[in-house]
């Protein structure tokens, strides 16, 4: 396998990347995937030069990233699709086709990523259709029943049973990747806070890390610890929100409202340190804007003590309720083998028994010195995805309490130098949903000419497509909530 090997947040010079012809490129990528590496990116180096692309693979055993370059003929942007052999590349190839006109030859399922109705140069897209007696189609969205983001779901059913689900997204597309290229420094941080408003900390963390790495800036240990504390606060808040949602979808109102109360405490803790219930305004290049002091530490500790004590009682009630377990167990199951093949990440992957956590496998920031424990569950069903989130809340609380007691001293913000020219960097952060990847590439004068964002939802929506097969359509809401994926993060 011919590749450039780097680490998470390690900047590299563009001329270090080996660029191969199209056959060697696909061979090299296939070799990496055969070795058990996972694809995290497939995109051109420069948006105006789509014929030079890179594929980024991660090797979680060695904590390393492999960059494989491919140079194509300018008028012949096509390559043999890898998706038949490695289903995880399927969606990355669709994205490359949609954004830059690449043709993945023999691709099994070219479908729109962010455009609703067209694929490959304005050809109309047809949903798969099941035919036969008593077969029916259910179309839901883009506007759903609750206060949630838009997306279109097309079910092919026979009675209650779903045979096939297609999820058509893109309604949230705001063009963030292009906006970041033209944005000022101040605008870039705000944009990254708005990639997915429920993952403000995760995405802004990844964005600031790309810029700091390109500038060769090492932020202080105190700032690193503060960043990790708020990341864990966000994880707690959103896990509580998700658990409440799952309970709500099976009609367990007392549990849903109890988690709701605790979530308020968690997001109000974020407001104590950042002024925003979602952690907006805290991240700046070179560190963080606000510091911990005795007063806000006391406020946050008091709130989190309540979360810790009460969540134990609520978890106990939920996970010993026969009614809840009947709905959770063996519902929307994703097997480990399947999850690996289609490249699932984050909470969903860990619930299927895959050991995958960026904080542990590609450690960054404070997690290099203060590790967190890896939690996995084997069953891959709604139960596992809900239970895992309850367990992760406990681990995040432990991390926060420990760090708040021993905050390292030092400045919270330092100046960031100038951005290195002709370079690139990949920053991976474990957001509450899973792996967030930001890639930045610069030109001769240090301007960012390519910025690529991958939210964990990009991988995991595909998992939900397939998890719905051969389940009852009435289980869709609870399965959907157990995946808890982002529309905005996918659509960008």
């Amino acid at each position: 396998m011919i590749s450039l090997q780097v680490q998470n947040n390690q900047s590299f010079r563009l001329d270090e990347i080996p660029f191969l012809d199209k056959h060697k490129f696909t061979d090299s990528v296939a070799e990496g995937l055969t070795n058990g590496y996972r694809m995290i990116g497939l995109f051109p180096l420069h948006k105006n030069m789509p014929h030079k692309i890179i594929s980024a693979l991660v090797d979680s055993d060695a904590a390393s990233l492999h960059l494989i370059g491919g140079e194509f003929q300018k008028d012949k942007l096509e390559f043999e699709s890898l998706a038949n052999q490695f289903p995880q590349t399927n969606y990355f190839e669709c994205e490359l086709a949609e954004n830059y006109g690449f043709i993945p030859i023999n691709h099994p399922w070219i479908r729109p990523v962010r455009k609703q109705s067209t694929v490959l140069g304005n050809k109309p897209y047809q949903f798969y259709k099941l035919e036969g007696a008593e077969v029916h189609e259910v179309a839901v969205g883009p506007i759903h029943a609750g206060i949630i983001e838009p997306g279109h779901f097309r079910f092919q059913c026979h009675g209650e049973l779903v045979y096939h689900l297609e999820i058509n997204l893109g309604y949230q597309h705001r063009g963030i990747e292009s906006l970041i290229l033209d944005a000022s420094t101040n605008q870039r941080v705000i944009l990254s806070e708005s990639i997915a408003g429920d993952t403000v900390v995760g995405h802004t963390f990844a964005h600031c890390s790309t810029i700091e790495s390109l500038a060769g800036t090492q932020i202080s240990l105190r700032a690193q610890v503060i960043r990790s504390i708020v990341e864990e606060l966000e994880r707690i808040a959103m896990h509580l929100s998700g658990l409440g949602g799952v309970a709500n979808d099976i009609g367990l109102a007392i549990v849903a409202s109890s988690y709701g109360r605790l979530r308020t405490l968690a997001i109000n803790s974020l407001a104590e340190i950042s002024g925003s219930r979602f952690g907006r305004g805290l991240f700046v290049y070179g560190g963080v804007r606000y510091d911990f002091n005795d007063e806000n530490i006391r406020q946050i500790t008091n709130k989190l003590e309540v979360v810790k004590n009460d969540s134990a009682v609520i978890n106990n009630f939920l996970f010993s309720s026969t009614g809840a377990l009947t709905r959770f167990e063996h519902t929307g199951t994703v097997s480990k083998d399947f999850a690996q093949q289609i490249g699932l990440v984050g909470v969903v992957a860990r619930s299927s028994g895959i050991e995958s956590d960026t904080r542990i496998h590609f450690p960054y920031g404070a997690y290099r010195y203060f590790p967190v424990s890896l939690i996995t569950l084997p069953s891959g069903d709604v139960f596992a995805r809900a239970r895992l989130r309850a367990l992760e809340i406990d681990e995040s609380l432990r991390f926060i309490f420990e760090q708040l007691e021993n905050l390292p001293g030092g400045e919270i913000k330092i100046n960031v130098g100038s951005i290195a020219p002709c370079s690139g960097v990949i920053s991976i952060v474990e957001g509450w949903r899973g792996e967030i990847v930001h890639t930045a590439i610069t030109d001769e004068v240090g301007n960012i000419v390519q910025y690529k964002i991958k939210d964990p939802s990009f991988n995991n929506w595909y998992g939900m497509n397939l998890a719905l097969r051969e389940t009852a359509i009435s289980d869709f809401p609870v399965i959907n909530k157990s995946f808890d994926l982002s529309y905005a993060g996918h659509d960008l």
């Binding site: 506007i143 597309h173 708005s194 407001a271 104590e272 950042s274 979602f278 305004g281």
Partner: protein, 249 residues
């Protein structure tokens, strides 16, 4: 059963009884104030710092319809005349009212017409449309129904079908891909109907104002009844905005 009752007891009394006067964290960025101090000649540091062009000079003003409530202008001002307070009462019925000047002390929504009050004063059902909202505003609107804010006690609720709704609440900068869906949804709401814009993105496009992927014609073609600024707006901003507008205590 006993365990469920224990859970209920554990809930205690989490509701915010007086939504009018809540003390939010000191760092919370709500209504900005601009001190009555003259700016140094040619200083435009706040304008340069602002990521969304919300600030105008001579005299200094901040448009909350564009503001994303980051503290960059406050930090940039050499005279320290801009200061974000934790006052969350910032909703208004007109776009102009969202422009904060040195004279602005408070913002509150003017009472709605008698007709609107008669129709919706005691019961208002809303259909939410997310049109590129990042899920920040959506989560805060969801929070309105939790045990802390419990907006249902005022007869204001979100419903699933536009047919059951008295109006729409729009979040997000109005993406091109949602244009058709917004029109169909609004059309499905029976008359008389209202439009509430929640969050800076929906009011002006916010940080996405220059995006080629947004399509905001719908807002020019229809009358907007209430603007709830914020990034995202605090749930209390939403409740108080509606209570003021509907002339409730």
């Amino acid at each position: 059963m006993i365990d469920a009752i224990k859970l209920r007891i554990l809930q205690g009394d989490p509701i915010i009884h007086d939504v009018r006067n809540v003390s939010l964290p000191k760092l919370f960025r709500g209504l900005p104030t601009i001190e009555r101090v003259a700016c140094p000649d040619d200083c435009k540091k706040c304008v340069e710092a602002c990521p969304t062009n919300a600030i105008k000079l001579n005299p200094v003003s901040i448009d909350l319809g564009l503001c994303v409530f980051c503290p960059l202008c406050e930090e940039a001002c050499p005279e320290k005349i801009i200061h974000f307070t934790n006052d969350y009462h910032i909703a208004a019925e007109s776009r102009e009212k969202l422009i904060v000047t040195k004279e602005t002390k408070t913002i509150s929504a003017e009472k709605a017409s008698k007709e609107i009050k008669n129709y919706f004063g005691r019961s208002l059902k809303l259909r939410q449309i997310s049109a590129g909202g990042c899920n920040g505003c959506e989560l805060e609107l969801n929070a309105l129904s939790n045990v802390n804010f419990d907006m249902g006690r005022y007869g204001i609720e979100f419903v699933a079908s536009p047919r059951h709704a008295d109006g729409v609440v729009i979040t997000g900068p109005l993406t091109r891909n949602m244009t058709k869906a917004i029109e169909i949804c609004y059309e499905a709401v029976p008359k008389p109907k209202i439009i509430v814009l929640v969050g800076t993105c929906s009011i002006s496009g916010g940080i996405f104002q220059n995006s080629k992927e947004i399509q905001r014609n719908f807002l020019e073609e229809n009358k907007i009844d209430l603007f709830i600024p914020g990034c995202p707006p605090h749930p209390l901003t939403f409740i108080n905005g509606l209570l003021d507008w509907l002339d409730r205590k």
